[in-house]
């Protein structure tokens, strides 16, 4: 864990005095005194302007199309790519944070071997010093969907017959595949078509939550939700997820409850489950869910989460066949071998000394493999281990040779999306360091003289595309018509999960929505992004139900030891809304070690408990709550105004116009655009893509855990979460600056740094601000952020030289200094760019898309001018569900909301 807060001793003070004196001299020199033009400017280059290129970045092995915004050769932002099926023009958190990895000062920059710093040639020499014996060579990768890499692995198999290859992801589809096989004999994955689903019953599933297909699923779900008749989402889950928050009806459930629920649903759908007793709420849930499923036959489905046992997947396959559910089936891309079993066998072979050379390519088994495999010991036992990764990991630190991988944006790549669509990704920037692409490393295994030419290798894979087709595929980052065709599923037999007897507490392991399996743990944006449910940053607590906490005599923030299977981890506990009684939920991805200043020591490694069953908790007597950006408390009476819940078709009451002595120029029909935003809380899934998109676009600094603990959060956009108990509903509410027409922050500023412009924007003039913070105190929405220290100049990257981070910054946005108030201004740089283009070309102002709007997977954010009555945002403002936050204060916010709806029970 790293910190930007200085602890002062005498030497530190002397250092600062000296630095201050030096800075006061150096500070007189203007910073932008030099101009560096090109030597040979590329044709059509626009120095200083932002140019957009289509490319892709991987997540969990799948490719995801992105639009890279590049200025002067530096990618400064990743946005969605409309033509790519896994992006659909939007991004998710993992796509947004991928950019920071490119500039991460912790990146591996050189080949390191037993003699120390080395080069690629000596690494190749070491690999081939003893020609690898075919059956004593092993390769471990993550999920591989890249046609180029798959072909190269096949070539390696031909070159080294008997060589062991294992593809392994800690978060995998093993259970889903095994369940499908159990039910139908085919190893296939279900791909739900939410756009055609009236009723969805999610059993321990989080389709709207983080994952490789989040954007596509969330978009389809939102599309269906906007169309009539109102759909209904049932969720039974052990702990609250994004999907659970968006449910029309949700019930917390232990794993035994989920199994019983499957039995009951099977019975109600016409099969034969064991008829055990269900708790009344679960019984009611099952009855209603089954009724709705049967009524909506052909437009209803049951989803089971990837972590649920295979038998539950088998049940879902049977039920969905019976319901004629809108589900496509597809064979997994890159092979359907069980990943967990593959890793276990590999580990056994390593321990048995059957492997001489182990190559680990962009995978981190030492951290994430089940603890009983003792992968660190397995590597120690192996004569030579070669680990290739972009950032230091536990595995690379344990290996003999460390090979630095390039960032995906530095190389030519190809991947497939979860639906099979192939994408060809062009580099946006030259390699920063002496790194190579993953495909180059594979080439090196076959041939010590292999070059680092990822372009040639990808071009070879797609040799069937002629020059024109290749150019088109690169320019659009999508190979046309390359998606897999959905397979039909043979009739499934009914299989049901066993109901495990209830003992003590059970453990639920969930991927972190920000760090996933740990692969984003070194990413400072990801660490500082609040968890959607608990709003925790820089760490994560074990989540428990309040009753369990009381029974154990624990309070929020108490540090406990979680014991399972002879191992234990130490974490603070937290009462979490919607947690099932008897379930302890821990997020994976934390507790990294030897992986750099950002990741090290944050939280505890939940993978250590991965395969353990029941769990015991012992208090340590210590207390240290995990940092959270939001206190959870009960709102007295105001909730209906802040986060109203409507039934489908219901309208918000019309607000009474408040009398005001202030002049109020009409926004409608004004000559200048009048910017406004509408956020639809009914489809906001709380994924945080907007939060980090805003951070990347607007040069929002990372401040580190210590500053976060002081409540100095710098995110310009936050996502609030509400539970409305009377309505049994919950939801998310993103809160950027409201751009109040009657802004309370403006009259209190002594230097007029907070002023309005003629387009309805509440401006913050950074160069005028003297930092009295009066505006922040006077803002009822608490959206103003104060730069207490010179956060942009401070580093959370430890001792690493963090100059590379500055290359990510958006040149069109001021980098704010110390003592300055900052906030959202609707991406004013994008508005200005559009207006200047309109001025110069004598055209109307074109469409302006804010960074948060561009990122949103469900298109919950609408932005535009309300001066134009035909604009989409004007139409949204006229929606019956429209309301303003704290409207009765008379602030006349320009950012407004559409109310959340719950399609509850129709009591007929």
């Amino acid at each position: 864990m790293s910190s930007v807060s200085a602890t002062l001793d005498r030497r530190a003070i002397l250092r600062m005095i000296a630095a201050g004196a030096a800075a006061s001299v150096a500070g007189c020199k203007a910073p932008n005194a030099k101009i560096y033009p090109y030597v040979n400017q590329p044709e059509n280059a626009l120095p200083g302007s932002i140019v957009r290129y289509a490319t892709a970045v991987p997540f969990a092995g799948y490719g995801r199309g992105v639009t890279g915004l590049v200025t002067d050769g530096r990618p400064i932002k990743l946005e969605g790519l409309a033509g790519h099926p896994a992006s659909l023009g939007a991004t998710d958190l993992f796509t947004e944070t991928a950019l920071l990895d490119l500039y991460d000062p912790q990146r591996l920059q050189t080949v390191t071997g037993p003699p120390g710093v080395a080069d690629w040639q000596s690494a190749a020499g070491a690999i081939h010093a003893r020609p690898p014996q075919s059956n004593r060579l092993a390769l471990l990768t993550g999920r591989v969907t890249s046609p180029t890499m798959l072909a190269m692995i096949e070539a390696l198999r031909a070159r080294y017959p008997g060589f062991r290859y294992v593809a392994w992801e800690p978060i995998n589809d093993d259970n889903a595949l095994a369940g499908a096989e159990q039910a139908t004999g085919k190893r296939m994955l279900a791909r739900p078509r939410f756009e055609a689903a009236d009723v969805v019953v999610a059993i321990g599933a989080d389709p709207l939550g983080p994952g490789p297909d989040q954007v596509a699923l969330a978009r389809a779900w939102a599309t269906r939700r906007r169309a009539g008749p109102p759909p209904r989402l049932y969720v039974a889950e052990p702990s609250l997820t994004n999907t659970g928050t968006m449910a029309d009806r949700r019930t917390p459930a232990t794993s035994a409850d989920l199994a019983r629920l499957c039995h009951r649903l099977a019975t109600l759908l016409g099969g034969e489950g064991i008829t055990g007793r269900l708790t009344p709420p679960l019984d009611d849930f099952a009855t209603h869910a089954a009724r709705d499923l049967l009524v909506a036959r052909g437009r209803a489905m049951i989803l089971v989460g990837p972590r649920q046992p295979p038998a539950m997947h088998a049940f879902a396959a049977w039920a969905n066949a019976r319901l004629a559910a809108p589900i496509d089936w597809a064979a997994p891309i890159g092979g359907d071998a069980p990943m967990g079993q593959g890793l276990t066998q590999l580990s056994a072979a390593l321990h048995a000394g059957e492997i001489d050379t182990l190559v680990v390519l962009d995978s981190n088994p030492v951290y994430a493999a089940p603890a009983e495999l003792d992968f660190a010991g397995a590597i120690k036992r192996t004569p030579m281990t070669i680990a290739a990764s972009m950032l230091p990991t536990e595995t690379s630190q344990a290996a003999d040779w460390i090979l630095p991988l390039s960032h995906p944006l530095e190389e030519w790549n190809d991947w497939r999306a979860p639906d099979g669509t192939a994408t060809i990704a062009q580099p946006l920037v030259d390699r920063f360091y002496d790194t190579r692409a993953a495909s180059d490393v594979l080439a090196l295994l076959a041939d010590p003289a292999a070059d680092a030419d990822s372009h040639r290798r990808v071009r070879q894979t797609w040799a069937t595309l002629d020059g024109k087709a290749w150019s088109a595929a690169v320019a659009s980052a999508v190979v046309p018509d390359s998606a897999g065709t959905p397979r039909s599923m043979p009739a499934a037999g009914l299989a049901l999960p066993t109901v495990a007897p209830v003992r003590g507490l059970e453990l639920e392991l969930r991927p972190s929505p920000t760090l996933w399996d740990g692969r984003r743990a070194s990413n400072a944006w990801a660490q500082e992004c609040p968890d959607p449910i608990t709003k925790e940053v820089w760490g994560s607590s074990a989540r428990l139900n309040g009753a369990d906490m009381a029974a154990l005599g624990l309070k929020d923030g108490d540090i406990v030891d979680l014991h399972a299977g002879g191992r234990s981890i130490r974490l603070p506990v937290r009462i979490t809304a919607g947690q099932a009684k008897g379930v302890v939920t821990v997020l994976t991805g934390y507790g990294r070690s030897r992986s750099g200043a950002v990741a090290d020591g944050v939280g505890a490694n939940a993978w250590a408990l991965a395969k353990a069953g029941d769990i015991a908790i012992t208090a340590t007597g210590e207390r240290r709550p995990t940092i959270s950006t939001e206190k959870q408390f009960v709102l007295d009476g105001d909730l209906a105004k802040i986060f109203p819940i409507l039934a489908p078709g219901e309208a918000m009451p019309k607000p009474k116009p408040e009398p005001s002595l202030l002049p109020n120029p009409p926004a409608k029909g004004a000559a200048a655009p009048q910017w406004a935003m509408v956020i639809d809380t009914d489809v906001c899934i709380g994924c945080n893509a907007c939060v980090v998109a805003c951070q990347a676009e607007n040069n929002v600094p990372v401040i580190g855990p210590d500053e976060m603990a002081m409540g100095r959060d710098m995110h310009w956009l936050r996502v609030d979460r509400y539970d409305v108990e009377e309505k049994d509903a919950s939801g998310f509410q993103p809160v950027p600056c409201m751009q109040c027409e009657k802004a309370p922050c403006e009259p209190v500023c002594p230097v007029e740094a907070s002023v309005h412009n003629s387009e309805g924007l509440n401006l913050q003039v950074y160069n005028r601000c003297i930092g009295t913070r009066t505006c922040q105190a006077n803002c009822p929405y608490k959206v103003r952020r104060f730069n207490f220290f010179d956060y942009s100049e401070r580093s959370v990257w430890g001792d690493a030289d963090d100059a590379s981070i500055t290359a990510q910054r958006n040149p069109d946005v001021t980098v704010r200094g110390r003592g300055v108030m900052e906030k959202c201004t609707y991406c004013i740089q994008r508005i200005s760019a559009a207006e200047h283009d309109a001025d110069a070309n004598h055209t109307p102002v074109g469409e302006v898309v804010t960074a948060c709007q561009a990122a949103c997977p469900t298109q919950a954010i609408t932005f535009g001018s309300i001066a134009d009555e035909d604009s989409i945002v004007s139409a949204k403002k006229a929606d019956p569900r429209h309301y303003g936050l704290l409207e009765d204060l008379g602030t006349k916010p320009r950012t407004t909301y559409l109310a959340r709806t719950i399609n509850g029970e129709d009591e007929a």
């Binding site: 910073p31 005194a33 626009l46 302007s49 000559a671 401006l763 001025d839 110069a840």
Partner: protein, 220 residues
Amino acid sequence: MSQLFSPASNTLARATLAGLILSPVLIFLIGATVARSGFVTGQGRFVDQVVPFSHKHHAGELGIDCRYCHTGVETQADAVVPPTHTCMTCHSQLYTDADMLAPVRESLVSGKPLVWNRVNRLPDYVYFDHHAHVNNGVPCAACHGDVKRMPLMRQAAPLSMGWCVACHKDPEDRIVSPAREFEGAPYVDRTASDRAFARQTMAAIAHHGRHLTDCSTCHR
């Protein structure tokens, strides 16, 4: 006992009283004058360059169009300082061994850019857009002065906020017809078409509700 106060004391007392009143005014006046002078704003300042490029020779005497080198000026915010290759379009043929041009040839061979010292400098928090000005009748000379008569580039305007805002408040007299935008001294002898284009531009600004004195026009 001698006199405590000499006859000069009265004068001294009067002068002191007057000075007490006048000196703050004087300090203010001097300060305001210095702040507006070239000493602080840099107006009139010549900057040494690694190659003593003469706009007078190239743009004035030879008549090379501004846009031949500053290619971005009509299409984007940044006017663009030309790449070495632009220099070499002519200088691969002309003055091929001039000592003065040695850094240019070196840049071409080494691939390292020529490093120019900025003349017209705006603070980091000011965002100026060339194409929004140039395409609306604001001539180069409005900010850069009569470049065609500058042997070495000189900062022609104070580039202070007051100076920018003065024009943003009332740009009409600063706007010329597109045909005269790249002239050295377009404000000398304003033509009827200049005035017509200026009126037309002012009407467009009003029609689109553009409020040129909004803080957000230049600051973000």
